[in-house]
Amino acid sequence: MESGPITGPVPTDGVAGETLPRSADLSGVPAKPNPAAASGAIGGAFWRRFVFRRPLVALILQRLGLSVGLLFAVSLMIFGGIEALPGDFATTYLGQSATPQAVENIRKDLGLDRPWSERYLTWLGGAVKGDFGTSWASKNSVSEQIGKRLGNSLFLAFFAALISVPLAVGLGMLAVQFRNRLPDKIINVISLAAISLPEFFIGYLLILFFAVQLGVATFPATVYDSMTLTERLSAIALPVATLVLVVLAHMMRMTRAAILNVMSSAYVETAELKGLGTFRIIARHAAPNAVAPVINVIALNLAYLVVGVVVVEVVFVYPGMGQYMVDAVTVRDMPVVQACGLIFAAFYIFLNMAADILAILANPRLRHPR
């Protein structure tokens, strides 16, 4: 969309501002922590030799390490940051009119009377082993609930990705092919509109049209264990369609911007001036350089998809992680909120890391940071 690094954000950033922590990558600004600094921190002669002999493996290991470190920092933030915020769980939990005795009791009950560092370590130790404690509201095991619901959420996100990724890349290329002509303009206007639509609006629109008026889809998209695969698929048809619509426009615009960025570079211009055919330019000069940004775009949007399920699940009353978390937030059930928050953040961080690593694999220039 724009060529200089100054304008930073791709103007598609409308809905999903959050998928763009590294949008600057598209315009060639190295974002994210500087790998050189990180390797300095790790240090050691052995590591330096390893970096020299296996630069690629070392770089990937570094990214992995960074992500794990980031995840720990996030867990600290999710737990410790909350402690630092004003407001006491027990009082907010019981309401303003609670007696001091009741507040004291519930604090002891929930283990809030222990120092927070101790509680954090217990929580983290449990979380690493997959045990997130018990819910305050229902007294059930959080991990058990999450185990059931995470699968449902991933099922939803997987099918949304399966449909949206090829479609977005195809449409993005189509838009580049017909750049500034009618198909491109139509795609541009529609995607701009689609970016601005809130997820719940698309969801209810689809429900009203397909489930209520035409009666071809089921509305509360409930799934349970005894359902067969086809039953499940027909139940999640509308949520998947919503997710696809939400992600598609965004992904397509980013794909288009990434490919255009390559197409407007000097070497493609040179190839054009040399008199090479369009196909040859695309196949030999543009495509190898466009692969990295496109992969990046896909991974970033998959990360967004994982978060996008939250609203869609609430709209369609789908028994997934997002709904679990939103319900827990309304009743201030902190163990559930923290567990869900950590899992969502983990998916987000690791998909972002995958984007990084794939970009490095696809683009040798990124292996030698200046």
Binding site: M1, E2, S3, G4, I6, T7, G8, P11, D13, G14, V15, E18, P21, A24, V29, K32, P33, L70, A73, V74, M77, I82, L85, P86, F89, T92, L192, A193, I195, S196, L197, P198, E199, F200, F201, Y204, L205, I207, L208, V212, Q213, F219, L260, E269, A303, Y304, V307, V310, V311, V314, M325, V326, V329, R332, M334, C340, G341, F344, Y348, N352
Partner: protein, 275 residues
């Protein structure tokens, strides 16, 4: 810049925004009924006394839409302004000072951005008491991380230019450099970014309200109105879609204007004109 050079799409956007603003400012004069008055049956169809029908409690939908414009735009705008002030001051300070301050702020920003905004907001709102100003502050702080990143990138670009160097050698202080040298030169991209963040704020606020964590009833707000009326969808009552459409329209209008601003900025910079 003359008015003729503004493309039609941008005009549509400007007119849409102006209409919403008018509704928001003059809500008590335009709205036929009060914000919280129950005036009819539940979910009456559109037409007659009630242009858009009534909602799940029998309140006039049109009046609530008009008052809702007020809440939604006000909260989103205040949150965006605060997030901009915060993000820009911190990012410019980081870019101008450099060194340790820059590293500290940037790494902390990376950390904040490692958690998706919605998830972060859910975690934080689960703890904090429900007040309007807390909601605004949470939105602003979460959003300022995005402003920080862009602000820093833009400011770093400018901070190495000769005229900044000259100002430094002249002995100007950091504040002068930030406000008199860097800010005027980064205004154009940041203005586009402001529009983008505003559109995002509207959507974000609506999403939070829809999830029941944003603006609390009985105050009218577009996201909350979708939540109030969502049960009607199964009976084929489209009351929930009206506020949803309003959110979408406003966001589209803002995006149209932003699109134009961005194109304008990038064409000022030259390049091959691939918009």
């Amino acid at each position: 810049m003359n008015l003729r050079s503004i493309p039609i799409s941008a005009w549509i956007g400007i007119i849409g925004i102006a209409l919403c603003l008018l509704c928001a400012i003059f809500a008590p004069f335009i709205a036929p009924f009060g914000e919280r008055d129950v005036v009819g049956e539940i979910w009456m169809p559109a037409g007659g006394d009630f242009l858009l029908g009534t909602d799940n409690l029998g309140r006039d939908l049109l009046s609530r839409m008009i008052y809702g414009a007020r809440t939604t735009i006000f909260v989103a705008l205040v949150a965006t302004v605060i997030s901009f002030a915060l993000g820009m001051i911190l990012s410019f300070a980081a870019a101008v000072t450099g060194g340790f301050v820059d590293q500290l702020l940037s790494r902390f920003n990376d950390l904040m951005m490692a958690v998706p905004t919605l998830i972060f907001a859910l975690v934080v709102l689960a703890v904090l008491p429900q007040h309007l100003w807390i909601l605004i502050l949470v939105m602003a702080v979460l959003d300022s991380t995005r402003v920080f990143r862009i602000g820093r990138a833009v400011a770093l670009d400018i901070a190495v230019m000769e005229f900044v160097e000259a100002a430094r050698l002249r002995g100007e202080g950091s504040l002068w450099i930030i406000f008199r040298e860097i800010l005027p030169n980064t205004l154009s991209p940041l203005l586009a970014e402001f529009g983008l963040r505003f559109a995002f704020s509207i959507l974000f606020l609506s999403t939070l309200s829809f999830l029941g964590l944003g603006i609390q009833p009985p105050a009218a707000d577009w996201g909350g109105m979708v939540k109030d009326n969502k049960d009607g969808i199964i009976f084929g009552i489209s009351a929930a879609l009206v506020p949803g459409a309003a959110i979408a329209t406003l966001a589209i209008c803002v995006n149209l204007v932003v699109d134009w601003l961005m194109k304008r900025t990038s064409s000022l910079k030259g390049g091959r004109g691939d918009a």
